[in-house]
Amino acid sequence: MATARVLGASIKRREDPRFITGKGNYTDDLKLAGLTHAVFVRSPHANAKIRKIDTARASKAPGVVAIFTGKDMTGVNSLPCGWLLPELKIPPHMPLASDAARYVGDPVAIVIAESQSAASDAAEMVAVDWEVLPSVTSTEKASAKGSPQIHEVAPGNVAFNWAIGDAAATEAAFKAAPVTVKKRIVNQRLVANAIEPRACVARYDDSTGDWTLWVTSQNPHVHRLLMTAFVLGIPEHKVRVIAPDVGGGFGSKIFLYNEETVCTWATRQIKRPIRWTSSRREAFQTDAHGRDHVTDAEIAVSRDGKFLGLRVKTTANLGAYLSTFAPAVPTYLYATLLNGVYEWPAIHAEVTGVFTNTTPVDAYRGAGRPEACYLLERMVDAAAAALKMDAADIRKKNFIPKFSDGYQTKVALSYDSGNYLGAFDKLLGMLDYKKFRTDQAAARAQGRLMGIGFSTYIEACSIAPSKVVGSLGAQAGLWESGKVQVHPTGKVSVFTGSHSHGQGHETTMAQIVADSLGIPMDDVEIVHGDTGRVPFGMGTYGSRSASVGGTAIVMSLDKIKEKGKKIAAHLLEANPKDMEYVGGQFVVKGSPQKAIPFGQVALTAYVPHNYPDGVEPGLEETSFYDPSNFCFPFGAHACVVEVDPDTGHVKILRYLAVDDVGNVINPMIVDGMVHGGIAQGVAQALWEEAVYDGASGQLVSGSMMDYTLPKADMLPFYETGRTETPTLVNPLGVKGAGETGTIASTPAVVNAVVDALSGLGVDHIDAMPLTPERVWKTVQAAKSRK
């Protein structure tokens, strides 16, 4: 009986039954005997010396088990930075600050008690004698004269100066260019806000000397490696890190944080398990933030709209310390994407990373790529406006033509495959673009401000190969492992080093396996998120799980089949070279009646009575896949808005997206990720911003009451389409779908608002979010200029 292929089908998720019935197993759900509860004492000041921490009164509070400060943590090292740039200034980042606190929320002590409320009460009694110092939180002012020096090792608060591209060629291009357009572009600071707050449970077993750490992590092996090798100096093999069900990450759960490190250290001191769960207020203050760039960008164009050059100077705010992968985000994940989907004679970008008295900044969904895409797409529209050219026409004039075997950009990357015009044409068709412009003119005649914005984007995901990223400063490999264990009954357990925190790997990876082996999905179990069960893994970020993690599984499946062919050939008295694997059976080529089903081969491997010489028993293979290149998803998004000139309110009328993520394993899941990505990118354009008060250094938008997360009635249904241009980098032909929506959507929305206001003479708005206030002021300023 022919069955439909599971690969490429919208199969309902296998993880859902536990989530919809309340049986998910998140870190804070864990119950352990003897559990204690931790609360961290944090700095209320943005910049302050610690004169003294007095814990005497708190120690006597009811239910207190222990209180530790940084001074108690002898022999403990700084949290590491996992990506080094030339001459990068790396200030110490201790798990508990003991000399000074450098941002609001910097932890200085841990209070452990019999209950959460007892710990909270006692934490209030810890008396810290602060010497409050002036602070600087602003990206632009970080290195200004008179700004306080945050770390001794970083004069002027500069962490690095970095550049890419051809400065001389770009200078020459600008000198010769008939038209240049220069804009200030502020990409504001964001907070990831996974709905599950970070949490950990650390348990030291005195009898065996083993630790178990349950933690909200996107990459439990990385957590373990960084914590054991660099910070705590405890043996890696004695620590098991489990990332159970994790309620969203968006980058914020990649990094090694202070809290799980301190709890892992402290559980050995008190020999009882410790649970810490972040409050949302703490999440705002301590989850790594995202973005926060201030950029001066210039584009040079010919009079007929050909791009001649791009010059970019960016200051990137890194916060108070270097978070785990912070230096990579505004450099290799940002400026290397400035080529976009266009042909350029010359590009040059300079980036300065600065320290400020703010929460550390690191990867947030898209991580550098949204900043690049926003800048580029905004500049493309600004150039079109300067030339009085249509926004679609200028894009079409500059797209890299369709290619399938590599395109070398001006900023280091070599794209895998692309058909940018194909995706854009599909979008224009969905949109009925000509009709829109007619409707827009009619609306404008009635005084209504309608606008459309495009974003034709590229993403770089599944960062690799390890050799190359190592030469660029990565302190980690960027491969992935995949172990396939075939049980004697033919059931299969698959162990992947990538981690699912909403992506649906338990479904999509089972689809890969079931398709490859021709067995039911019910016979396949996907195991992830546990260093005690998975050999090793680099985890999930940068849209890498299908392309890198999936390929590692495919490699192991191929090995399983090769071994199976030997076993089956022996049973059939055939030559292994004449065997093929078809529809769940090992078959002699050309003799379909000579076949052994998968399950029989599995059993034979474990009961090897009639067995080929020189073949090991058992059927289990592990592979480590290091890709030869990144993958480069791309696409075209469009947003249609109407702006209320009296209130500045922006209403999204339509949102359209055509994404090309290569081959698709599960369209339902890919569409879902695109939807969520779009929502986050739209929210950056219109609502979200982490705001610091310049005078006090306080995070003003530090709660869900103050930070505008999008709600259902602020967003429309998204109209999604797809083109499929497989990558040749990996055998699945998949590229990556986790971040495309976030990367593409922000400029589409802002371009739409600018287009809506273009009749008033507006060709740019410096800063996001485009709140009613900002839009209204833009409208008023434009009107007063007229």
Partner: protein, 157 residues
């Protein structure tokens, strides 16, 4: 000074000695051991803790457990009956209305109340009525689709 608080959760009687300041959500999670009800914020924005108290959807972080003495509480764990999913649970599964699953119990409990009050809501009404529940994964698209689907299924019965 602790107080004894008794209530019925998903039909089962519960009675625990608690601090008067204990929130209902922590009573449900820590005392009753029902961890499907989640805590996602501390300002009553996210709605992950939504349960029904005496038939009314409430954010269980906005009530003290002592205020619920004698109450009938329904949580996500009590929605499926005899191993059969509630149509709203089934709709979230069918329409891919969840990704990480953390907001999902609160979303489903809110949607349940929404459809009790208005069995055939428009898209705009669904979006408006979800104002108390935040999701960071789905962009709400498939949550709205799931509630529309559930409404159709439930009306067809």
């Amino acid at each position: 000074m602790k107080k004894t608080v008794s209530m019925t959760i998903n039909g089962a009687p519960q009675s625990h000695e608690v601090e008067p300041r204990l929130l209902l959500v922590h009573y449900i999670r820590e005392q009753a051991g029902l961890t499907g009800t989640h805590v996602g914020c501390d300002t009553s924005q996210c709605g992950a803790c939504t349960v029904h108290v005496n038939g009314v959807a409430v954010k269980s972080c906005t009530l003290l457990s002592v205020q619920c003495d004698g109450a009938q509480v329904l949580t996500i764990e009590g929605l499926a009956k005899d191993g059969k999913l509630h149509p709203i649970q089934d709709a979230f599964w069918e329409k891919h209305g969840l990704q990480c699953g953390f907001c999902t119990p609160g979303m489903i409990m809110s949607a349940h109340q929404m459809l009790q009050r208005n069995p055939r809501p428009t898209e705009a009404q669904i979006r408006h009525d979800l104002e108390g529940n935040l999701c960071r994964c789905t962009g709400y698209h498939n949550i709205v689709k799931a509630i529309q689907y559930a409404a159709e299924k439930m009306a067809g019965k």
